[in-house]
């Protein structure tokens, strides 16, 4: 049985590389997913309020060598607050590196954690993102070459 893999790309930007999953910028996808939660809080504009990580930090996180300061229960930062500060409003995920695929799961906003029964922002809509290992490595290599 063959499976459909998700696609991953990084587009250049002055603020940092944009993560693009299945043809859509992850920030834009999060704006959709977070909107109901943000509206519930009366602050719809904070949905998707993220900024790319600097390339070096993103590369470190994607390749399993994250900055030790910003680790959350084994999860690594994919996006930071739109103010530009790491650790301020991070969007994190668990990254599992397998021989033939790489899986992103456990998406979480650090200040609306899944452990909060009342206030958690949930990302079930994203499900697990599963990338073919060879494609993932190629995307990361291209990112590294541009950085």
């Amino acid at each position: 049985m063959t499976r459909d893999f998700d696609s991953l790309a990084f587009t250049p930007g002055a603020a940092g590389p944009q993560i693009v999953v299945n043809g859509q910028a992850l920030i834009e996808r999060l704006r959709e997913v977070e909107r109901p939660f943000a509206e519930r809080e009366g602050s719809p504009l904070i949905a998707g309020g993220y900024r790319p990580l600097p390339a070096a930090a993103l590369l470190a996180n994607l390749t399993g060598q994250p900055d030790r300061v910003f680790q959350y229960s084994g999860k690594v930062t994919l996006l930071v607050c739109n103010c530009g500060c790491e650790g301020c409003w991070d969007f994190v995920a668990e990254i599992e590196q397998r021989d033939d695929e790489v899986v992103w799961r456990g998406f979480e906003q650090i200040h609306r954690p899944l452990s909060d029964p009342d206030g958690a922002w949930r990302y079930d809509e994203l499900g697990e993102l599963v990338f073919r290992r060879s494609d993932y490595d190629a995307a990361v290599r291209r990112l590294a070459a541009r950085s």
Binding site: A14, A15, R51, C83, G84, C85
Partner: protein
């Protein structure tokens, strides 16, 4: 249009829109998000930078007006891997709550001490009067500036 300036000692160029602020260019074109984007009307000081050594709100300066000029942002205050004495003092005194106003205060305080090595409390108050802290952490901020002045 293309603009060339010196940012934190480094000659840089950026493609900007004619009406674009220096703040936007710094944050979104040049990857320098230290200067914060808050009021965008020169009220809060969170976007403070030094333009040819003068303290300005980068939200009120057009990027094209900075053509050929020297800009120092909060990222450019540290030298040789060492924090500026104002940055060290802010850390030592805990003069940070949410942190959003901090870069602007740090730049304004550094500018004050550059021109006045031993400011009085009134002079500190005057120098920081263009910077707002919505957490109202002014006491610690003043303590930090006094400490930096002594160091």
């Amino acid at each position: 249009m293309r603009v060339a300036f010196t940012i934190n000692g480094e000659p840089l160029e950026a493609d900007v829109w004619e009406g674009e602020s220096l703040l936007f260019a710094l944050r979104e074109r040049l990857g320098l998000p230290g200067s914060k984007n808050a009021c965008e009307q020169g009220e809060c000081g969170s976007c403070s930078v030094l333009l040819d050594g003068r303290l300005v709100c980068s939200c009120l300066v057009l990027a094209v007006q900075a053509e050929g000029h020297d800009v120092v942002t909060v990222e450019g205050l540290a030298e040789d891997g060492r924090l500026h004495r104002v940055q060290e003092a802010f850390a030592a005194t805990g003069a940070v709550q949410c942190g959003f106003c901090t870069p602007g205060f740090v730049v304004a305080a550094a500018d004050l001490l550059e021109h006045n090595a031993a400011p009085s409390d009134d002079e500190i108050r005057e120098a920081l009067s263009g910077n707002l802290c919505r957490c109202t952490g002014y006491a610690k901020i003043f303590e930090a500036v006094r400490l930096a002045a002594q160091s």
